[in-house]
Amino acid sequence: MSENCTGSCVPGMTKDMLVPQLAVVTEIRTETPDVKTFRVESPDGSPLFDHMPGQCAMLTLPGSGEAMFSITSSPTEKGYKEFSIKRCGQLTDALHAIEPGQEIGIRGPYGKPFPVDTEFRGQNLLFIAGGIGLAPLHSVIDYVRANRDAYGHMDILYGSRSAADLVDLEQIQNVWMKEKDTNVYLTIDRPQEGWDGHVGFVPAYLKELAFKPDCTAIICGPPIMIKFVLQALIEMGFDKTQVYTTLELKMKCGIGKCGRCNIGSKFVCKDGPVFRCDEIDELPNEY
Amino acid sequence: MQGISAKIISRAKELMRDGTVNKVVGWKAGEFFYDCEPYVFETEESLDGLVYNRFCAANLSKYMIKNSIATGEDSLKVLVLLKPCDTYSFNQLLTEHRIVRENVYILGVGCEGMCDIDRIRENGFKGITGIGENADGKTLTVRTLYGDGEVVIDDVLVNKCEFCKGKAHKIYDELISDNEDEGPRGDRFAGVRDIEAMSPGERFAFWKGELSKCIRCNACRNACPACSCRKCVFDNNASGIASKANTDSFEEKMFHIIRAFHVAGRCTDCGECSRVCPQGIPLHLFNRKYIKDINEFYGDYAAGEEAGQRGPLISYTEGDIEPAAVSDKGGK
C-alpha cells in the first residue's frame, strides 16, 4: 500500500498512510440546500486510486480538519472520485465554502466494500436510502448499472425530508429511472406543492410496496430509519443475512489504529463500514 | 478517626433504613488501605464497605451535581459525606445552582487531616501492604513487602490539609465530629510569596520546570468542583484553544493560567487539583495566587463560605485598582 513520497520533503521516504496525496476539486454541484457533490481528481489527471463500491476516503482541507466520506462515484469512473457531502460540521462547512480548483488532500480507499462481485452477483437488489444515505449506495447502483447483466432486478427506494432534499434527483430521473429492469420509488416526508409522488416515511412506504424477500437489501440512512427499515424487512420475511448496511463512526486514522471507531472488536474503518445485518447483531449496541 | 467511622456507617444505615435517604455518596474501601474510592452506596448492606480513614481526601461535592438530580419519578434523597473543607465547594456549587439542595442530606464528618500516599512513598516506603493509624493519633505504621516503619502524620499530609482551612462545616444537616475548630493551619500564602519573591527569570524557570511535566490528562479540571461547565472551552473545537498536545511550549502554561482564571473567585482552595495531578505539579499555587490577589485588591473573600455570595469577578467598585498597578507601566 505504500508509495514513495513525492513532495519536496524527504526524497525516497516511504510515505506514511496518514499523509494524504494532493488532489484538486474540479467540479462542485449543488444537490440540495445542504448537500454538494465534489468531483476530485489528481492534479495531473492520473487515477488517484482504485476503489470498490462502499469504500471511503479521507478528505482534508488543512485548517479545517480531515474526515471520512463515502465515495459516491462508480469504480468504473477511473478519472475522478465524487463525494456527496452534507453540511453538518466544521470540515463540511469549510468544504461547502470552497470553489472549484481548490487543492485538497485525499487518502484512501478505506474499509471493506459491498460484496458486489461475490454475494451480490446474480441477485435481485433492493436499495433503500434516506437523505444523504444515498451517497454510499450511489456507487453500488452505478456499478450495478455498468455491469447490468450480472445482476437481477433492481429496486431503488429513496426518501428525503422534501423534494428539494432528494440528492441527485436529476440523475435519478433521467438515468436510473430509464435503466432496464429497474424501478425507482421516491418519497418525501411531508406533502408539498408541486410534488405528485409518494408522501410518507421510507419504512412505511417500504411496507406498502411489499417487496418479496427474494432479493438482497442494501440500506443506508439516518440510524432511526435504518432501525425501522430493518424491522419492516424482517416482518416482510427477509432474513438478516439478506440485508446489508453501512455504518459511520468518528474516525481519525482510517487504518484501525487510532482506536475510536470500534464497535466491540470490530473497527468500522477497517472491518466495516459495510456490515451484513446478522453481523451487527453480534456487536455491542454502541453505534 | 476510626471511632467516628463506625458512627458514620451506623448512622448512614439508620437513615437509609428509615427512608430519610435512598443513596449514600461516600468512600469505599479499595484493594489497599489507602485507595479509598468515591462510591454511591445504594443498599444498606453495601454500606459495610464504607470507610472513613486518613485516605479519604477526595472531595465528594462535585459528585452531587450528577447525583442530586432526579432522573426517575422516585423521590431522591442522597446522603453525602462532607469534610469541613468540602462544604465550601458544596456551597459554591449551590451558589452556581449546580446542586439540587433539597435532594441532598449532608452528613458533615469531622476530619483530622488526610494523608498523601505519594508522600509516604517519598519517605522511602515501597511495596506498601498495610497502613495503620497508631493510638497516639500522630503516627502511622506502614507495613511493606520490605519491612515495616513509621511515619509522622504531619509529615505526610495532603497539601490541602497541611494548610487546613479549619474544622468548621459551613453547611450540613447533621454532624458527626469530634473536632474542635482551631481555625486555619499554617500560612497558605507562604508558597505564593516565595514565588513572588523570586526574580522574573527564576519565576519563569520554576513554572517552566513544573508545567513542562504536564501531560494534559485533565485530571485537575475534571476533579475540580469549580470546573463544572457542561462543555469546557478546552474541549470546544471552535474555541481555538482545544488542543490535546503536550508540546513543552506555551500550551501547558496557557491551559493552566486559563483554567485557574476560569475558577478565580470561585475556587474554594479545596486542593483537589494538586492532589490528583499525576505529575505532582503544585497547581494550588495558581489558585492561591488568584485568591491572594483578590484578597489584596478587593478585600478578603472566601468562596463557599456561604451559599449565594456574589463573587469578586462578577462585581466591581468604582474605586478598584487599575491594572496599571500590576502591569507596572513605569519601569521594568
Binding site: - | 519563569f204 500550551e251 469577578l313 462578577i314 491594572p323 500590576v326 507601566k329
Partner: protein, 147 residues
Amino acid sequence: MPVNEQKEWKPKIVAFCCNWCSYAGADLAGSSRLSYPADVKIIRVPCSCRVNPIFILKAFERGADGVIICGCHPGDCHYSTGNYYTRRRMALLFSMLDYIGVERGRTRVEWVSAAEGARFSQVMNDFAKKISELGENVKVGDLRCRE
C-alpha cells in the same frame, strides 16, 4: 525549509480597542495625521470587556510581543459597566502573567475616549517604545509559530 532570514526585529503589538471609544480615538488620530507605530495591529471589540484572557494569551502564543487593551474611561462605558469588569479581570490576569515570569510591561490597559486622538497616538508610541526596550517576547509563545 527557508534559511533563517536575519530581519531586523520590530515589536509586534496587538491592541484590542473598544468600538465606542478607543477605536474611534484611533480613527481620530489617523484623521488628525498623528502617527503611531505601524506594527500595532488593532482588533476592534464591542467593549473592552469582550476581551477574554484567552485572546491575550493567544496573541502572545502566536508571536505578539505586547498586548494592550483600550477601553472607555471608567464610568463612560457604552454598556454602563463593562470596563469595570475589564479592570478587575485584567488586574488579576496581568498579576498572574507577572507571577509566571513574563516581563511586566508586555501587557497594559489604557482608557482612551473617542475624543482623545492625540492621547491614542501617544499611548501607542509609548507602549511601542516600552516593548522595544523589553525586546522580543521569548517566554510566552509557541515555538511552532516562531520557526
